[in-house]
Symmetry: D3
Subunit: 135 residues, 6 copies
C-alpha cells in the first residue's frame, strides 16, 4: 500500500543561462533574455514527493516536518538568496536550467533519504514554466 507524501518549499535566486563553449551570438540566439550577463532571477517553488509504505505506528510515510527541515538544511541553505552561477559549486560547470536544478536537488536529497522511499522533484521556475524529475 504505497502512498506519496509531498512538501512544498520555495527559494529565491539569481541565474544566467549560457554555454561557455559558445560565442556570445549563439548564446544570445539560444537563450535570449535568459542570457543577460548581469543575471536575472526567480522565486522558485519546489515540491519534493516521497513514495513508500506508511509506518503503522505513526500513520506517516515520512514526517513532513522532518522533510521540511531536511530540505531547508540540504537544499535551501545552498540555493536560497544565491547567485546559482557564482555561489553554488554544483553549477560551476553546469548550466542552471530548471532541468539541471531539479536533478541537482534530487541528488542532494537522494543521499539523505533512505532507499525504501522513491523521490520525485517538481520545480517551478515561474508559475507557467516547471519541470519534473524523474519523469
Amino acid at each position: 500500500m504505497k502512498i506519496t507524501v509531498c512538501r512544498k518549499e520555495h527559494f529565491n535566486a539569481a541565474h544566467r543561462l549560457f554555454n561557455p563553449g559558445w560565442t556570445a551570438e549563439k548564446n544570445e540566439l539560444v537563450f535570449g533574455k535568459c542570457n543577460n550577463p548581469n543575471y536575472h532571477g526567480h522565486n522558485y517553488e519546489l515540491i519534493v514527493k516521497l513514495t513508500g509504505e506508511p509506518d503503522p505506528e505513526t500513520g506517516y510515510v515520512y514526517d513532513l516536518k522532518k522533510l521540511s527541515d531536511l530540505i531547508k538544511k540540504d537544499v535551501l541553505d545552498k540555493l536560497d538568496h544565491k547567485n546559482l552561477n557564482l555561489d553554488v559549486k554544483e553549477f560551476e560547470n553546469l548550466n542552471p536550467t530548471a532541468e539541471n536544478i531539479a536533478v541537482i536537488i534530487y541528488k542532494l536529497l537522494r543521499e539523505k533519504i533512505e532507499n525504501t522511499l522513491d523521490i520525485k522533484i517538481i520545480l517551478y521556475e515561474t508559475e507557467r514554466n516547471f519541470v519534473e524529475y524523474p519523469a
Copy 2:
C-alpha cells in the same frame, strides 16, 4: 484511449495526531504541535481523479457534476465540519494523518464507483503538505 477526469472539493475539520499505545511524552516527541489534546484543524482540499475510457455518446469519462454530488454525499457529509477523532467512526482506532484520511476516502469512493474506473485521491492538509493515494 484512457483519459483522467478530476474534481476538486474541500472540507474543514479538527483533528489530533497521537498513538494511544504511547506515553504522552512519546506522542509529544513524535507529533509535536499536532498532538495538542484540545485539537487543531485544517481546510482540507480534496482532488478525486477517475481514469477510464470516454463514453462516445456523451464525450464524458464520468459526469463531474455526478462525481461532485457523490463526493458530497459519501465523503463530505461524513468529514466536513467534524472532529475526525471524535465524530468519524473510521478514525476510532486509526490516527487521522493525511495518509490515513486519503486511504479512507479512497475506500468510501471505491464502493460507489464502477470498477472500470481507476480512482486516485490527492489530499492537501495545507497548501504545503499533501498526499497522493495510490502512489
Copy 3:
C-alpha cells in the same frame, strides 16, 4: 535520464454540450446547464508536458519559449476567444467536453513535436474540473 518540462497557457472560449442525435429533453437531462442553446463559456487553463532527455549542450529538454510559441500558433489561435461549436472545425461533429478538447489539443501538438518526446495534456475547464490525456 528522462525529465518532464511543462508550460501553462490559457484561452477563453464559449461552448455548448449536446448530442445532436438526442432529443432536447435527453440533452437537458444529461448535460443540464451546460446544454444552454445560447452557449456559456470558460477560461481554460492548459498545461502541456513534454518528457524526454535533456540536450547536454543547452540543459533543455525543450525550449519552453519555443513550446509557448508553438502552443500559441497551433492551439490558441484556433481556440482562443472562439465559440468551440461554431468556429472550430474539429468540433463540428464532436461534443466539446473537456475530455474531447484535451484529445484535440494533443493531436494538434503531436503533429508538430518530434516523436522522441512524450506529450501529456492537462486542461482545466474550471479551477475544480480538469482532465488529463493520456491518462
Copy 4:
C-alpha cells in the same frame, strides 16, 4: 468599529463585446477578439464585500452562509451558464464589459442588503483582468 466581510463565488458565462450603434469595422477595431459574433466566454470570479458593525450577540457582521445563498439566488441564478447578451435582460441594451457586469451585480445586491452595510464588488474576468465597484 467597522469590519469588512467578504465572500467569493464564481460563475461561467458567454458574452460578446460590441456597440450596436457602430459599424462592424469600428467594433472590430475597438473590441478586437472580444467582438467575435459567435461569442466567447469566461469563468468569472466574484467577491462581494460588506462593511458594517459586528453584531455583539453573534460576532458576525453578516452571516457569510446567508450572503452566499443570497448571491446564488439573486446573482448566480441569473448569470451562471448563461449567454450574457442573449439570456440576461439587464444586458439587452448594455455592453457586458466587466465594468458593467460589476455595476449590475452591485444593483442586484443593493436591493436585498440593508443600507447599514456598504457593498463592494470585485469581479475577475480572467486571473489577470479584474474590476472593482465602487472604486
Copy 5:
C-alpha cells in the same frame, strides 16, 4: 509619500462558534455546522498591512523579515495548532468568528508596532470567506 507593506502568514486552529447565553437550538439555528460541540478547524491565512513613510536610508517602510518574526512571536505562537475556544484566553468570553479573530490580532500587533504606522488585518478563514479590519 505613504506606502503600504504587507506580509502573509498562516496558522491552523480548531474552533467552535456559539453563544453561551443561548439555547443549543438557537446556537444550532444560527451557527449551523460551525456549532459542532466537538469543534472543527481551518487553515487561516493572515495578511498584515502596515502603512507609513519609507525610511530614506533603507528604502523600507518596515523590514518584512522583522514583521514576520513579530507576527510569529506575538500572534502565531498564541494561535497556531491551538483550539481557539479552549487554549486562547482572549476567546474565553468572545466567540471566535473571523471578525473577532481579526480584531484580536490587530490589538496584539498594535501594542508592538509604532503609532506612525497604520495597521490593517486581512484574515482568510477559507479561500472563499475572509474579513478585513479596520474596514
Copy 6:
C-alpha cells in the same frame, strides 16, 4: 460613478539590497541574505489599478489590452530579465526595495496615462511579501 480596472503582469529580475554609504557589516546586519553581493532574484507580480469613469460608448474605464501593452512597453521592457542594480538607470542611486520599485513603476506610468485616471501599484516580491503605492 467611479470604477477601478486592474491588470496583472509579471517580470523576473535580479537585485541586491544595500546602502553604499554603509559598511559591509551594517549592510549585512540590516539587509541579511538580501545583501548577497552576487545578487539574488524574484518573479515579481505587478498589478496596475486605474480608477475613473467608464466611457458610455464602450463600457470601458480603460481598455485592459491597451493597459497591458503600455505596461509591457514602458515597464516590463525596462525591468524584465534585468539586474535592477546594474541594468536600470532609475536604481543607480536608489535601493531596489519593493517599495522603491513600486514608486518607480508608478512614475513611469503616470507620465503615460491621462490625469483623469488615478493609478495604484501593487507589487508582489514573493507570494508572502508585497507593497502598495500610493497607500
